[in-house]
Symmetry: C2
Subunit: 273 residues, 2 copies
């Protein structure tokens, strides 16, 4: 693989790289749906059929791009871990989230390829799962460090039903990662919710709703971190007890107004499709 393997193989890897590069360029410009094998070949000065020597189909080419993109966003997430050291898990979590967001904003079409709707013929091959997990692993790294530092608040096991806890345990086993199942379940939820925020921002759902995207995101992922059990070291610990998510005791159990139901029926009742 690495040795100087004849001029022929070298040419092959070179052409393969050129194809991927040009394809990535078109992907970044017009999105996955408009990525055309013929256009790539045309731009490279070759004929379309020649391209099939390197990628057996358009989907395979797309898969290669997907893997690269997963690696790129994963690298961005991991990079945030090293460029933002420190002992505050919430800050580190936020740094990872913001790195992912920055990458997504810089590569919206590639982001859509990863976290948007699955493409028609796609069937996530084995090769994608490892790169795809890098962002999640980076987030879990923060949680593991927090636990080691005593800054991970593990929710009561009764928070999650046994089936979810079982999932979390098998997941932890598969990852060879020692995290309490309830905490892991909460982290998975936070992981998914993070991409809910990103999707809405990138796919336009925040239009005319949230304009201060950067600030909104920063605060939201901070809240997410605390909801997942991450704690900032000391000082702010005073505020931890009423951190959002868990033991909220309704403060003002004054009773019902309660013809709200009729109000809803009035407002929305006749709106059937």
């Amino acid at each position: 693989m690495s040795a100087i393997q004849g001029a022929r193989e070298r040419a092959r890897t070179e052409v393969t790289a050129a194809i991927k590069s040009e394809a990535r360029r078109q992907l970044a410009e017009q999105g996955a749906a408009k990525l055309s094998l013929r256009a790539v070949a045309r731009e490279l000065g070759m004929v379309s059929s020649a391209l099939y020597r390197y990628f057996p189909s358009r989907d395979e080419l797309l898969t290669a791009l997907i893997i690269d993109a997963y690696d790129a966003v994963g690298a961005a997430a991991e990079g945030a871990l090293t460029t933002h050291p420190g002992s505050d898990p919430v800050a580190r979590w936020t740094a990872v989230c913001q790195a992912v967001r920055r990458w997504a904003l810089a590569h919206p079409h590639e982001y859509a390829l990863l976290y948007g709707s699955p493409v028609p013929g796609y069937s996530a091959p084995r090769d994608t799962v490892a790169p795809a997990s890098r962002v999640g692993m980076a987030l879990l790294t923060v949680a593991r460090e927090a636990r080691a530092a005593g800054l991970l608040r593990v929710p009561d096991a009764a928070t999650w039903p046994p089936s979810v806890l079982a999932d979390a345990r098998t997941l932890a086993d598969g990852l060879e990662m020692e995290l309490p199942a309830p905490a892991l379940a909460g982290l998975v939820a936070a992981w998914a919710q993070l991409f809910g925020l990103l999707n809405f921002e990138l796919f336009g759902q925040f239009t005319n709703v949230v304009e201060a995207r950067e600030e909104f995101f920063a605060v939201s992922v901070g809240t997410l971190a605390r909801a997942a059990g991450l704690c900032s070291p000391e000082g702010i610990a005073a505020e931890d007890p009423d951190a959002p998510g868990y033991d909220t005791v309704p403060e003002d159990p004054q009773a019902r107004d309660a013809d709200a139901a009729t109000e809803i029926a009035r407002r929305f009742g006749q709106a059937g499709a």
Copy 2:
């Protein structure tokens, strides 16, 4: 509009409906990318060019389907409000979320059209924003009721930066809805995060990670509700037995959950390339 306006107009609306129906059928079967004007026309026994008398382009047809889908999921959400009355905002929030999830599982490709990556040429026209907001409005309705009942915990204004609070205020003004800005900001975040959970489940990110999807979702959206400030009335809800609703699956007329689950596995499934 409604009067008997000539056989011609009636035929027109009839054909238009037939086209949308057949298009929706193909969309549900193969996804948006494989929706073909020619195939629709073929199935309807007409020639492809005739179809352009009714929809000026494929994108316009897709937009019509998008609007219908937004209305359908919005109606499902609103329906949950009426079929699940009561004074527990968390339970009502959860009911809305589960209605949305059920709809999504039953219509995965239409869901992907709404909340996946934007389609190539699309540019959400004005007509889509009203239907698109119905789910969010249903969630906000829960929050408004909660506030009226004193069951909405409003976070400290310092939680959010002024820019976000300003956004929330203009949003509240635009909606003519009296909700404190900090609470509204949190609700928007929860709204986005809800769809993060749904996207990950529907788009396959939970494969080999979360298998007890139903329970995981129920608990997660309950946590989300509390994070957004919704409170259950009185203290009883603290202890879990019937708490977040994962063992009380509400029966909706459109349920068919098990089928939907296998359905989606089949449609999005991993047919090895």
